[in-house]
Structure formats: structure tokens, C-alpha cells
Assembly symmetry: C2
Homo-oligomer: 542 residues x 2
Amino acid sequence: MLGQMMNMPLLISSLIRHADEFHGDTEIVSRLPEGGIHRYTYSDAHRRSRQLANALGALDVRNGERVGTLAWNTHRHFEIYYGVSGIGAVCHTINPRLFPEQIAYIINHAEDSHVCFDITFAALVEELVPHCPGVKRWIALCGREHLPKGDKIPNLLAYEDLINSHSDAYEWPEFDENTASSLCYTSGTTGNPKGVLFSHRSTVLHAYAAALPDGLNLSARDSVLPVVPMFHVNAWGLPYSVALTGAKFVLPGAQLDGNSLCELFESERVTLSAGVPTIWLSLLQHLQAKGLKPSTVKTLVIGGSAAPPALIRSFDEQFGITVVHAWGMTEMSPLGTANTFKQKHLALSAAEKDKIRVKQGRPLYGVQLKIVDGEGKELPHDGKAFGDVLVRGPWIVASYYKGEGGNPLRDGWFPTGDVATLDADGYMQITDRSKDVIKSGGEWISSIDIENLAVAHPSVAEAAVIGVAHPKWDERPLLLVIRKPGMEVTREQMLEFMRDKIAKWWLPDDVVFVDSLPHTATGKLLKTKLREQFHDYRLPTA
Amino acid sequence: MLGQMMNMPLLISSLIRHADEFHGDTEIVSRLPEGGIHRYTYSDAHRRSRQLANALGALDVRNGERVGTLAWNTHRHFEIYYGVSGIGAVCHTINPRLFPEQIAYIINHAEDSHVCFDITFAALVEELVPHCPGVKRWIALCGREHLPKGDKIPNLLAYEDLINSHSDAYEWPEFDENTASSLCYTSGTTGNPKGVLFSHRSTVLHAYAAALPDGLNLSARDSVLPVVPMFHVNAWGLPYSVALTGAKFVLPGAQLDGNSLCELFESERVTLSAGVPTIWLSLLQHLQAKGLKPSTVKTLVIGGSAAPPALIRSFDEQFGITVVHAWGMTEMSPLGTANTFKQKHLALSAAEKDKIRVKQGRPLYGVQLKIVDGEGKELPHDGKAFGDVLVRGPWIVASYYKGEGGNPLRDGWFPTGDVATLDADGYMQITDRSKDVIKSGGEWISSIDIENLAVAHPSVAEAAVIGVAHPKWDERPLLLVIRKPGMEVTREQMLEFMRDKIAKWWLPDDVVFVDSLPHTATGKLLKTKLREQFHDYRLPTA
């Protein structure tokens, strides 16, 4: 027997309509790539999204068709989110920081019919044009007066001209909530980028969960500044959650330095901002150097990689700002966990609270999460056992766009590629990446734990640990070390330094001193490269 | 083109599983009708819900079958919510305060195969038995030792015996999220009660929205005590939202007096409670009389009818407790609006904030809401125009159980029967019930506004305003007044008192002094009765 409630699909268009109707005069403020601050309201954004919808119709953009963006966080990108998804087309956000060949691959793989770009990326677009013959029109996000000069970009339109030539009389269509709404490619360390195709349903459900008090805690009393780019997993869903809650939205454009952010924090009374650790490290240094103290910021959400404990503590003690640790990935829309306290934690000491805060947090309702061993057996929630993190839920990927990479699921669960512990209170702590964990005699050794220990040695600048083949144990850890300039430390001294600080069987079988270590574009250790390099390395214990 | 996210139904069972996995040791505390305080955890509740699921299977309860409850707010009722809905059956909560004939009607209309009852209702059940031949078993919510004596209740089981004789090994089934989950009858002032049949989808979506910062603002740092009964629209959805958020749950059983509530507030560190105005009025009097101050309560949610402004102010000023005004109804699961501030309101004076607080609040995302005039034309959000409140959304009723009353919708919208204004910020204020509004010359007059004005006269004990037929204006207001004992006031004095305080054409055409006014069981004016009584009344202006 079915219930007798209204059959209303969860559609992205209903978010912007809600914001317009009940938060019509709440502001969206943008720092524009072409210069200046732009200021308008949810009602304006809704009106222009409807103009865009009509414009897209006139350009013959059909249901399911992909419209690409190469754009900063601005009001125009926000309108594209709503205008494109709203008509039933797919908003395909592209990371402009990738290599041009990757971008061209992605545009061609997605078969984007139109690409919208901020004028800061004009040179990039000129480079892309010859490699992307499928793009019918390139739309510069500016008025006619800022259009890129020259004729290297064919079929070039100015966004402002485009939408201003269309009426705002438009009724958002109703359709299946499982319709594709947006597309974002992950840039793995191996193979081609793979597309994650979100749906209206997944997006709206994620927007609810993200706004919860134990998520990002968003309300109409907030002013939200996403430093995380709108080309990176929909800026963690914030463009949807702010409309859902009627929070003010502050978009920093291309200027993400400490000074520019602080200016917006103060002028727009920002209460919450979100970004990766490096952004907050540089902000912290800026605040300390200038002796500044943000007067309205209450929360900084940190994701992308683990937040250093000292960073969390400094913001808390020096600025009264709570750093909320969150975890997820493109395949998860992205939010999986967020770190907030339970009632029983409120009375703990600062030191005890710190121990909780460094973890990645608890799963939001909607995300099922478990850790499993190599055989897929679920591991206990004891804060010690670590295993592959598997997730499932209505905003978790089922398969990649066009079936790329085959079925990514394991018995219906998505393997995140992260390795973590779960404690009795449900807090997850990432200990490694699945592919970096060292499998020694059937047991797992965390490469990150050993690295963290090694860099604590005063002579060590950087360290990496990888598993190397071993005839008896399958794999054993090899420690690679870059010494600080002018500092000395021997293999034996390194091992001695670590000996009483980790389990005996975790101690690396060898130490190799190197001059450099390979990194990804985003600064992460490129362990695939290291494993190739040391593939035939013979451990002294072998 | 469809998105490629996991196809996971929104099911009630996933709420209790989430609470078990990530909030396993968080407590659920109940005051038992048979005496004493019961204390256990979400893990215990989940375990016993699974035992109940097995027990229901053994009793041959099928998908869609209705299981009734006549029960207070306790852990057992909580288990029934999850156990019954979890297996795909329908949890039918019945208001034990209705007349026995109404209850029998409801049980028979719903075709409940089983009815679970608290032993405080044993006498009621004995009375019901002969009139409810379709009930296969009556399940007393107690252990064998507290079973009602005698043999007036056939096929009587003790709940504790029932579940203890079954294993907790049970996997919740996956099924269509639109499957019916629970059933609640509305007791209108006319006609038979009508059933609202909620679905898993509507319940889960409502649970997300209710927990939002601008909803009831629920987190794992909360301890929540619902005074609103679990037989009244699922206790406003709190049994679901607490599991979603991992909040502690405190269930007051049958004792809702100020003293009993205060005891639980303190011993269980309650942060949020929810109920109707009369409960909070009596609590306020209790606190003032005893000189008590709750030490952990931050929020009292008020719904069911409008909260008196003085009540809101007293709790704020004397106890630092925020009263959150909310509005909804059974047909809305029930939440439609909640009253929280926007960022721009935070700097307002206390007096200005009070003006906002007395309103019923802003719609939560998921509820579309509009006000329309007699012709269905949408009215402006200006805080002045008032009209019928229409709503729609995924947790709003589409039709009543078994099609009772035909199609209740108007062009796809549910007419709430309330009349309200909407201001520019989206705050709704109820001004009347649709059927009580007086339609004079095509314009609407709010009966409540005139009543509020009339009772401000020092000689008036109670007042009612109804529309009476008028040959020229269709209807004109008639004011009915009960004078305070020993006080005098004439027709002319009453009219004179009101003359400069309302629009001239709102002034009643006549005043009639009466000794009593008819009320519903819950204390509301029974205007249908008054309209019958004064059906042939001839106004002096007619």
C-alpha cells in the first residue's frame, strides 16, 4: 500500500524559487573577475536564471545536453547552476586548473555543446578551441565591453547580452527527480578523468543534509563565503544549501588571498566560510601578520585533506573561530562526514576536545558508512581497527558517466579509496589511502602514520613511506627521506628515533635518503610514481 | 538523461539504523505509565524494534496492514513506530482522548488488525472491544505482571512477552519509499475523522526539514522532550528527527504537569521541548510559583495554536528560553513554518523582535505556500493582505485514506483552512480560519481580530464574532460577548470602544450579550454551533 502524500519531485529549480519567494531581498555578493563588487538579491538571481533558461531554449539546448563552465565563484556561475539544471540540461563544471589537454579531453568526453567561461580564462579557451570542435558556442561571462579581443574564439557570445535579450517569463518544468542535473569529473592519479553525474534528487537531498546543525549548520542568519570553487564538486553543495536556507551568499571570484578574503569577511558580515587547509593556513598567517581579527566569522569548514591540529587550535584560541572538519569526495556530492560534538563531549577539557576535532567527523544521516578489512569483513567501531571506507546512499555515485571504468561498486557499496578508523561514537579518522596502505603478512600498516612520525625528526624535511615487495611478508615499509638543508641523520638514527614510538612490526625495513619526492598538481605525494621507481628495490630483509 | 547516483529509497528503518550505528549509546529515557523511569539507548531501541519486527511477522502482520496504538510517549511507542513501519506495515496512532465511539469508528475504518495500548487505557479498551470485532489481538504495553485483570479483553498479549520471545536477528527490507508508513486521523469539527496516510518518503524528508537550523534546530548536542503526544501527528515528527540527528530523547509518559516536566528537564538535561500553548502556560505558572529556573532548556517549540505574545516574552526575559513558534497540521506531517530570525533581524530592538516572534514563521524549504483571495488569485507578501493559505510539497497530503471526502486539493494545492498574511520577509501570520472569516461585500473581515479587540475591554470575559447573513453585504459581523461577573457594558459602549481601533466597515453591526459560548473538547470556540444558533438572526442594519 502506498502513502497518500503529494507526489512532488525534488527539483533544483524549487530551491531558487523558495529563496526568491521567502528570502527575496537577501543578498548575493560577488567579486567579479573583470573588477569590482557585484551585489544583488535572490529575486534578481531567480529572474536572471529564468532569462538564462529562455536564452538556452533559444540556443536550442535540449534536455540532458551538457553546458560546460570554466568559471570562478560569481553570481553568473550561480545563475548557470540554476538556469541550466532548471531546464533539465546538465551543468558541467570544469576545473580550469587542469592541464589544457585534460580540459579538452573532458569537454569532448562530456560532449559539451556550450562552454561558459570567465574572461580570465580567455587564453585557455583560445588554446582549447581547436581541440574542441563539438562546442557550438563559447559564452564569455561578461558584458559586450569585456569580450576577449581578436578572432581566435569562434561563435563567441557575451553572457550579459545573451540573457538580456530574453524575457524572464519562464515556468520551471517538472520532471523526474532522477534526471541528471550536473556533471563533475574527478582527476584521479591514474587513467583519464571520470565524470560523476549528479541528479536533482541527489542534489536536493544533499542540500538538506549539508544544512543540518551537525552538517554545516546553515540558516537565514548566515552569510556564507565558499572559497572552495564552484568547479570543485559544486562548491561542496553550498550554492544549493544557501538557497534552501536563505543564507546570504558571498562569492570571492578569482581573489583568494588572505587580504581579499578578509575584506569580504568584514564588509559582508560573513559567518561561515569553506575551503581546503592551505587556504586557511595562509589566512591564519595573514591574520597573525596583520594583527587582524574577523568580527563575524564563526565557522571555517575544512575539507579536501586533513586539517592540521595546530590550525584548528590556533583559530579557536586566537580568533574564537570553530574549524569544522568535513570529509567527502566528488563521488559523494561531496559530503560524507562532518565533525561536531555530541552532548556528552561539551564538558570535556580543551585537550580532550582536540582529540575529537582532528578526526574527520561523523556520517550525516543519508550516508551509510562502514570500514572493512581486505576480505570485506566489517571492522569494529573501536577507534583502532582501520580498513577501507565503504559508503552508500542517495547522493553517492552508482557508476561513472558513460560507464567509464566499469562498475565501481563492491556489493552495492562505493569504495572511497580511503582507509580509516571509526570510534565508538561514530567519528571517522582517515589513516591512509587504500592503495598506499602496506599489506604486511595479512595485516595493514598505515603509511601516513609512519610519515607523520618520520617528519617529527628535527633533521627531516619531508618523508614518504611505500610498500615494497617482500618474499615472506608480501610487502614491507620502505621509508624515503629528504633531509633538511645542512642537517645530518643516518639510517640507523632514523630507525632508532622511531623504534619505541610505533609497533615493532611497523618499523620500516629500510631508509633511503633522496633529494626530492614527486607530487601531484595539488601538492599531494605521488606514491604511484614512487612505487614505480622503487618497484625492484631489494630490502635488506628480503 | 538520468543521473548516475545510487538508487536508495528513503526508508524509516534507515533512521533507527543510523542512530544505532553512530549514536549507539545515546539515551532514550521514558517515564512509564506503570510507574518508574526507563532508560536505555538507541542500540537497545533498534534491537527491540527488530524483535518486534520478528514478532509481527510471527503474528502474520502483512505489508500495508494497520497496527493501532493507544499510547503515551514512551520507549515502547517509539519501538512500535520503527518496528511496524520498518517491516512495511502501517503504524496507526490513535488519540485516546477522543470519545470512545470516535475511537471505535477510527479503528474500524482503518481496519486495524492489532491495537497496542498503554495499561492506563485498559478501561477504554474494554469499552472498545465489543465495537471493534476486526481487531485480532490487543497488545498491552507492559510485562505480564501488569496485564489488565479480568477477561473483558480477548486475545490479550503482553508486549514485553511478545517481543522477548523473538530474536533480534532481522534485516529491514528495502521497498518503494512511497510505501505507506503511518496513519493519523484528523478530528475535524464536522463529519467523521479522516485519515492521513504518510509514506516513508514524506516522513524522511520531513525529518530532514524539521531538524534544520531554521526548523527545530536539532543536533547530537540536544536532549529533546516531546510533550506533544506521539498520537498527535507523530509528535510533530520528533521521533524521526531525533534518530536522524542522534539527539537524546526524553519521553514523559502520562505525566505532563509542570512539576513532572521540570523534573525530567533537569535530570535529563533537556535542551528542547515541544507542545501546545496551554502546556507552556501551565509550565510558566509552575516555574513562577516555585521560583524555579530550568538550567539546560534553550528552546520551547510551540504549535497547535497561536502562542500569546506575553508567553513568548516571559520565557525569554525571565528564563532565557526562546519560544519558537511553529505552524502546521496533520495533513502537513505537520511542519509548514517555523519562526526564526534572519540575519538582518539580529540587530533589532526587543520590541521589534517581538513583532516578528508572534507570527507563525517562515516556510521550510519543501513546503510551497501561498495566500489567495476568494477567486484563487495570489495575494501580495505585504503583511496586510490576508487570504486562504494553500500549501503543497512532498510531505503534504494528496488525498485522505480510502478517498474519504473526495479530492481535497484545489488545483494541486492543499487548502489548509487557515487564513493568514505573509510579510515581505516570508513570515506568515494566521488571522483566522477560512470558514470563520466574514465575507462582506466581496472583502474579508477577520473574526479573530475583532475578538482580540473586544476582549481588551475591561468588562469582557470572552467574545466571539461570526458572520450573519445580510441582504446587501452578504455577511456582516455579529459580536457575541460574555461579560465578566458583576461588570456592566452596553452595546453602544462596546461599539464605541472599538470604533477608532478598526476600519469602519469592520465594526460589528450588532452586539449580543450571552451567558456562555460553545467550545470544542480542546477549548476552541465552536463557531459552527454559533452560526447555527444565530442562523436566523436579523441584524438591525438588514
